[in-house]
Symmetry: D2
Subunit: 367 residues, 4 copies
């Protein structure tokens, strides 16, 4: 029910604003006895951190995480597990905001930036924390990434999560060139080395023009056993759709073939099956690893559309909260393409949804 | 938490299998004093009913709804409201299954039909009701449509919900030809009279070939005030994504410009604003009526991709539950394009999500 | 969130009014592969059924349950399990109301019966179904008993649930005389044969005087392993308190020594431990089988206070919905002591809470 | 679902252990535009703070709260509201632990202290943070008190919450002597000046003997309108029972006459009604302000039984986690009667439950 929580047995509640003293989350329902320390979380936060290339915001945030509760160690636990472990009680994670530049907000406090949540927060709440977008800022996604690191411990080493950007602006990667290892070699999470070069040029131009670009992010989970997720309203794809659509600037989610499936015939779309030894194998994965809301055992494949960063230097028509027409340009430190930093966020959401599905499945069926 | 429920303050729990004695739902949290009788629900069920054209399943189901609880009338209530009204207590709705043909299921009980949930239900539960797909059958969506009729009473007359099919197979409607009134004049909910004729030909061929076609459905809500929905994990678009993705055969959901936004520049995507008299007006609706997870006051626009009906007459490669390769053809009475009957279902889900958002917004803010 | 649901992984939603066509519940989250048929549920309903002695209401209700969904059987399942089994999908249970006497309600529709929910339903909803109390009638508890029968299948044979009435009016059973087998030999669930005779006299007088009596009910669960329940707000005793307090006419709940513990010293209250062979054994059970919100492995012991039936023949002072003073006598068929029929209801709630705790514990910890 | 959260529209999630760096809570769903600053919360924390008299633990904790998110102020907000206000987004509250004495825990890490959650945490989780009881410590209740201060802002000035201790050990206050103002004049929240003196003597003896005492706490809410709470499983008394039973050491909860109602006749128990001018007035309050799960408009009256502090100096029989008999004495800084500091905690839980009920009622009914 809670607006700022998601998940059921594995449940994450986030808090914090862009320019408040800190942000964080409480991760509840984690199984006990899993190795966890701040370094394990920090590794994922560093992948999302701002300021790592010229294609992301230049805001300087170390994004150092502190674990305030929910783990424990003593000499015996270190001997048995190799370090601190979860206790089964809520894990509180906090990240201090460091680079909230003191500045004059008078220009934006009354003006609604198109594409941002300024108008809607005002309409809903009657007031808003306009500093850096307040609660609607993408800084909140740091808390998701931290929670995702905990979720990964639940999933264990048998499940691999990977993410990539597959389109920036009108430029799509070529599936023929797909190489997961490339995603670590360029600042775009691009699995296609050639396309990465084109994006570099494209985004440099975009950045210099004070414009921004949209993107499509794709995340995969390999090793998920058949049987996770539950019909009808707890369908794995339903949970994934909700989780992904909650990411800032997301405007679409698809599973497997997604919208392309609308153009298929039944024959083209059918994921046929054959035995491979004593294992069931699928001959295609149009379903993206989910059928009837339950995992099939194939890779879970999710794509999400991220709209262009709303903050652009070009003047746009807008209005003030008091009903006057204005033209507005959004200055400041912005990602020219927020889709890039959405990759570790989407991976984290995938991890959280799957961890929850694992625990719920185990709860109902015992396996 | 419940797998077969959705919504928060307005909460719907559905039950029933394709070939059980009945199906239905419990609608909880409905405000008191709203007019409701079975005729008001029946009108919407009739729009989704099978057997109404040759382009939908020929299963004969009257889909007559009974209201078993949650409404009341006496002479005074009739005088005051004009008929029975909701009492604020749970509304139990039941639809009996009539046309569950007695037949021999031995052929499918061990064979996994590609695209269906046969394999995944077995993987999850270790057994399944294979008659007509059991719980995974799209007959469950009748309960959603019934619940949606209740939700519409909460939304009231100021909010209009409309739906259309905008693509069948590779054939898309032309936005230039869009006429909402057309959707009632053809069996496809098609808003483009020309395209409706093309679809007729296309689907006749598809049907005769024993094949099936995918589709894209689009639903709109007009009249939703700014301010509904709530960040971060109760975002209106998040709730819509979850609700739509839970519909049988859905593989993708998008809001507003959706995946197309990924190809836009920031300037193209910006929904600029201007005052029209004393009203804020947007110059475009790429956001689909939702920004920061909260309604903007524009039309809510949602599209969902529906994969082709998995049941096809063409032989497809599959396996049995005991690990043998088989070839399988799905006989029986199937929709050549399930996307058509998904329109009233998607409208109903939209109604339910909005009704819940209305009540939650009122709960938190008092307005 | 839903007002008419309880439980988390094992979740029960009830619906229905005293004088509607039927009442029932949807039981969601039940594990698959558990034996279940209507006879297994009926056995428990028959223990709560009205009209079985002169000490309970004379309303004639067969309370025949129908299972509308969620179970399945075929020849193979019968061979493997011995009959129908749960499928893991929602179990819909319905009980038709038979003896809703057609009568004139004009006398009570405007008068607030003291102790009943007439005034509060009007205050909340602005209208109410006054026939037999509508939704506030204890007939709703039939649905709980039906759900409890499902919950017992989850708990399995290793866990025994038992209930007794330990006080009626001012007359308490003598713990020295406690014999569980006596509870089946008298119409009061009384474990003390002597006291059962006193109650017979006492309640005959109460009944003849048109009055009513309160009671205290005690339920035990034996065989619950240590480790169920979860701090802090999902404590097993918290869940039990909520579940028991939701029973009609309940005004108090205590666990173990309960209110008596307030008068104890720390030494008196301590449940000391000693090893018995390789098993931990407690030397007392003041904690009632729960410490820190988690089961200890001892018997779970819960008591609940049930106020006297509010419907009495004596004239009481009241008011009308239009603000006039009236004197009111409640005619009709009422339990002189509703505490008696609360025993199977309290047992059912105990079963449901424990079944949910079992699944949640398994979900989080895997054991 | 979350184990460490409670409430629905107004939802509180707590985190933290006795000897971790900090503890706190996230309060979600708070309406926007309510005045809130740390001083308003601190005032309530100071009432629960340890070390304020010789009858509570001597642990020295300043319990200074920090608000990390969810409030905002600028010059216009200060002019309009007089200070910082809630924004409608989650309010994160943190209290640092200061006095976690560094000490040797080897004595208790393997020994199960009777009455504590040592054995049950081990049984559930397979390991535990034994320092000061870890998550099971009553230090967690500081977070509840902080959340309660937020809840009070939702309830507003028309609703008054008050609490008292009505029994310590076997010594009960005399209702004839009840004076709410006395509760602020003695260290026991005792409304009976004479009894306060007796308790002083009694608790001094208890403390010197290294023993402890149980207590009964009573809390009242005045000014709650009729209509809050909702049948059947969201009953106001059900929610209160759950909330109160979740307080450390609570073993029983009753509403109004509670267990005493079991001994009443229907006539004695009936809360008769009469018009007082144009207002409905009750002639008694055995129902404790709740009928049918909905507030009547009378005072809400709740009592809870608190068992004696489990930590006592007397040697008690116990076992180790490795299955050996031991005798154990709990040294350290303990409350001789935890019931005393339970008063502000119970008041806070009452505030939170009522705030949630207010928002839910408004959500469903609009009033």
């Amino acid at each position: 029910m809670s607006h700022n929580s998601f998940g059921h047995l594995f449940r994450v509640t986030t808090w914090g604003e862009s320019h408040g003293p800190a942000l964080g989350c409480v991760v509840d329902g984690c199984p006990p006895g899993l190795r966890l320390d701040s370094g394990m979380i920090q590794a994922f936060l560093d992948l999302r951190r701002p300021g790592t290339s010229r294609f992301v915001t230049q805001r300087q945030e170390p994004d150092q995480v502190r674990i305030l509760s929910g783990i424990f160690e003593d000499d015996r636990i270190r001997a048995r597990f190799g370090g601190a472990v979860t206790t089964g009680t809520p894990i509180s994670l906090m990240i201090e905001n460091v680079d909230q530049r003191s500045k004059d907000y008078s220009e934006i406090r009354d003006r609604y930036r198109p594409g941002h949540a300024d108008q809607t927060y005002d309409a809903k709440y009657g007031l808003r924390d306009y500093r850096g977008g307040g609660r609607s800022s993408a800084r909140e996604t740091a808390a998701r990434v931290a929670a995702g690191a905990v979720a990964r411990q639940i999933l264990g080493e048998g499940i691999t999560l990977r993410g990539a950007v597959v389109q920036i602006g009108p430029h799509m990667v070529d599936p023929e060139n797909w190489d997961w290892e490339e995603t670590a070699r360029n600042p775009f999470w691009c699995p296609d080395a050639n396309m990465a070069k084109s994006w570099e040029t494209y985004l440099d131009e975009t950045r210099k023009a004070g414009s921004s670009a949209g993107a499509i992010v794709e995340v995969h989970a390999t090793g998920v056993p058949a049987g996770w997720g539950a019909p009808i309203y707890g369908k794995l794809d339903s949970e994934l759709a909700s989780a992904m659509m909650s990411i800032n600037a997301a405007k679409g989610v698809e599973i497997g073939a997604g919208f392309a499936a609308a153009g298929f015939s039944g024959e083209e779309n059918a994921d046929e099956m054959r035995m491979q030894g004593d294992q069931l194998a699928f001959l295609s994965n149009n379903n993206g690893g989910v059928a009837g809301g339950i995992s099939t055992g194939q890779d879970i494949v999710v794509r999400l559309a991220i709209k262009p960063t709303s903050s652009i230097l070009t003047e746009t028509k807008s209005v003030t909260s008091t009903g006057e027409n204005v033209d507005i340009r959004t200055k400041g430190r912005h990602d020219p393409c927020v889709g890039i930093r959405a990759v570790p966020v989407a991976e984290a959401m995938l991890a959280c949804v799957l961890a929850d599905a694992k625990l719920r499945h185990r709860g109902q069926t015992g396996s």
